[in-house]
Symmetry: C3
Subunit: 352 residues, 3 copies
């Protein structure tokens, strides 16, 4: 059943903002609530109890399923609730990319972005095609002449990543038989920039037929790499038998130098425009994960084409969002976009 | 004079929220003011002048004493003001544990928690008894086979703590004649989780006869360990004659991955339940000081059974508190609890 | 044309808060807007487009010039708009100190402070004269016996700074022919304290004839020094051919231990009083850039005598500012000061 057809059958006055209970769901439900929407939280077996502690982040209703991978079988019942799905990283991870792409529910954003984002080669084609600088890829480990980070394919949350200083170091650390990618290790300060692209808004920073916003910026906090220095340097830790790991555990608020902002918007604009060339455009929140070098250049090491958990830092506004509307979160911004699309009868332009 | 008797004599419509002028007192006074309470700030000799700069954090009245250790002699005059004391780390430290326990004033929270928290063995009995994982203790320094942190008994704010990599390193660094404890050094990201337990509220996340909240999370900022890496690794610094130190100077805001939240509530629940088994329960704010490992497990290295200074980051709400009530601080939450207890005629359930 | 004369000709009911579009201009315009002022943004050639994305940070009007160094030729047209200039770091840097000092426009604050702040010897005379502790200066590189930081004169944003551990290390790293200063490298936690001094307010923390406030505190985030530890220690990085750099890219929110606050106010007070002795006083926002040692002593390594970019973290209040007025930013505080000066007919006391 196609999204267009589903939307035609929806009662637009009774939309339920729906997502999986994890990742940034408290923020998504909170934002939807602020805009007056009904909310539905999808959970396995039984809803996590912790929502009881957060009355303003709790969904109006829980929808319990037995397996995320089989969500499609629940789609008819969710359609009865006029559900619009807000995707997030855990949502996609739990369901699996293929199942998510075929989900017979209206999804906020362009579901075609997934294949461009989840495949490292396509991601690079997109971002470098947009003129962004990415870390160099080293094809042959024998060519490692400066520090690199080695990432296994499909590894979640930085699990198993390692740093190698040269070929010998690489050989010592690589696990045989697992496909990997070798990237230049970029030394610099990390800024995770939270954007929002609306294809239907005309007021603001115009990009294509819509507008681009910067909502906030965070820095990921990764165990054990971000606090390992309290014990010793990475190589000293390795000598003690402790491997550096890159598993995300949280996020820290941060603001950038104001003089970097125009570059930040330029990057966002190029990424949006290229997304229209390649796959019909990216809609709603996205994040460029960057390192700023001493020449004040941005190197982009990844894109997330949906709401990122770093926005959870800004549940009630950020230094940037407050210049748009005091207290605005990315979760609320998503709800505003859906509301505006309903009012302008343009839901199909923000939902696929 | 017993607390029950004192409370009976109090004018419940004219309570004065009272604390020592330090630590988190600006937040406590500010929170009490928001809930309409009169406030009293206890100070030595003369009130710190800096309160003049913060009209919304200034107590209504200062109460000057000559020695924190002799606070009991001022108790009658404070009782005339219908004072309810909010304890914090400096309050207890300045008075001394023994004096604090005997203070003839109504104290918010259970004063019996002090002996369980200030004695490392009892603390471990409590937390491990609750099923929490703590860093391993090494009884004999000759058994040091991986990095450890050595803490002297009664050391304040991390003063004198040191890291040892093996027995030789330990021997070189230990000061003779001072009792110490040797703990496994946990490498991972530190999260200081600020909870609030209400034994009298029924709405929310139910634990025992009351409810549990997570108000916020911070990371402590310690000199010089947290910025030493700007000069070199810990061992390189030691070669330059600079010892790592762990003295708290401030706090940084942080949020955790949403998928960790249920574990966080589970830990809080177990700690509360065990506290009822052991000593009649813990009431109000408390903090679990944790490290998150690469397996996303929490290791708890300490508990603070009262408001911690890390909550000062969140004077006007946090990403978590804003989901309870926009702008809510732990200081205000304390005042709300006392207000609710007065309204329900249950002061004795939150005050000892 | 003198400032007094200019102000006499101004329509005080139609002041335009004016600054260069960079650094902290979003905050300055946002703050002025909150206080009801008209705002003017000075830009080269054409206004940066990014303001379109921030309706509450956008100036009412852009004023396009061709060269910051020649701003004085535009002064007459800006005077027609009743412009009061808010200086910031980029403003002064773009114009040049000499041009700025001679600018024929009313400037918020005392323009004489510039020469005391931009000359390292005078800065030291001022701060040490005020009783503040600064890092030791090593006159002769052969006297380097502990880690030092070497700063080239006039270097912007930490560019080119390096750490040397001894004389040999110094010789290896120094660029010949460039004047430099050698300072003790202070290991400790960095706190950038944002003050505000009003010479015309009577309510609050009295200093001289006015009042002193602490608005907020941040930590600068510098590439690559602040994240270099993810790869290795500084000396290990140098072995890999990567030099530590100190280029500011952003700011992180932080709060200090409450027990440090009185020292913080004492430092601010002494700096203000000394500024009156030396050059007629410092007015409005300023920042002490400090390191806190394990003895909880502040070492001050620099002063900025105007709004610093670290205040951008606090566009909608800070844990300290919220105790003055909920949501107050330094940008808004500046606007309040000008408003109060107009109301009290004391503009000349805050403007030069």
């Amino acid at each position: 059943m196609g999204t267009k057809e589903i939307l035609e059958g929806y009662d637009k006055g009774n939309i339920s903002i729906t997502t999986v209970c994890s990742h940034s769901s408290l923020q998504i439900f909170n934002g939807a609530r602020k805009e007056g929407f009904h909310t539905t939280g999808i959970a396995i077996r039984s809803p996590p109890r912790f929502y009881d502690a957060f009355p303003l982040g709790r969904p109006d209703e829980f929808f319990v399923i037995d397996d995320y991978k089989k969500m499609n079988k629940y789609a008819p019942r969710l359609r009865e609730k006029n559900a619009i799905v807000i995707p997030h990283g855990s949502f996609v991870e739990y369901m699996g990319t293929k199942n998510f792409e075929k989900l017979e529910l209206p999804i906020f954003g362009n579901r075609d972005v997934l294949e461009w984002e989840s495949d490292r080669d396509k991601e690079r084609e997109w971002l470098e095609g947009a003129g962004l600088e990415m870390p160099t890829v080293i094809e042959d480990p024998r060519d490692i002449t400066k520090p690199v980070i080695v990432k296994y394919h499909g590894a979640k949350g930085g699990k198993g990543f390692f740093i190698a200083k040269n070929y010998d170091d690489f050989k010592k650390k690589i696990e045989k038989g697992k496909p990997y990618i070798i990237q230049e290790f970029m030394v610099g300060t990390r800024y995770y920039i939270h954007y929002f692209y609306s294809p239907i808004s005309k007021d603001g920073y115009r990009v294509g037929k819509g507008t681009l916003q910067v909502m906030s910026v965070d820095r990921r906090d990764e165990t054990n790499i971000d606090e390992a220095h309290r014990l010793g340097s990475i190589s000293e830790l390795e000598d003690m038998g402790i491997k550096p790991t890159f598993v995300v555990t949280g996020n820290i608020p941060i603001v950038m130098r104001e003089s970097l902002l125009q570059k930040v918007f330029d990057m966002g604009e190029r990424v949006i425009k290229k997304s229209y060339e390649l796959f019909g455009g990216m809609i709603g929140p996205f994040c460029l994960e960057t390192v700023v070098t001493e020449e004040l250049k941005f190197k982009v090491f990844e894109i997330s084409a949906r709401i990122v958990a770093g926005t959870n830092v800004y549940m009630s506004g950020s230094p940037y969002a407050d210049l748009i509307q005091p207290g605005l979160s990315t979760g609320q911004r998503i709800a505003q976009e859906i509301k505006m699309a309903i009012e302008k009868d343009k839901l199909e332009e923000v939902i696929t």
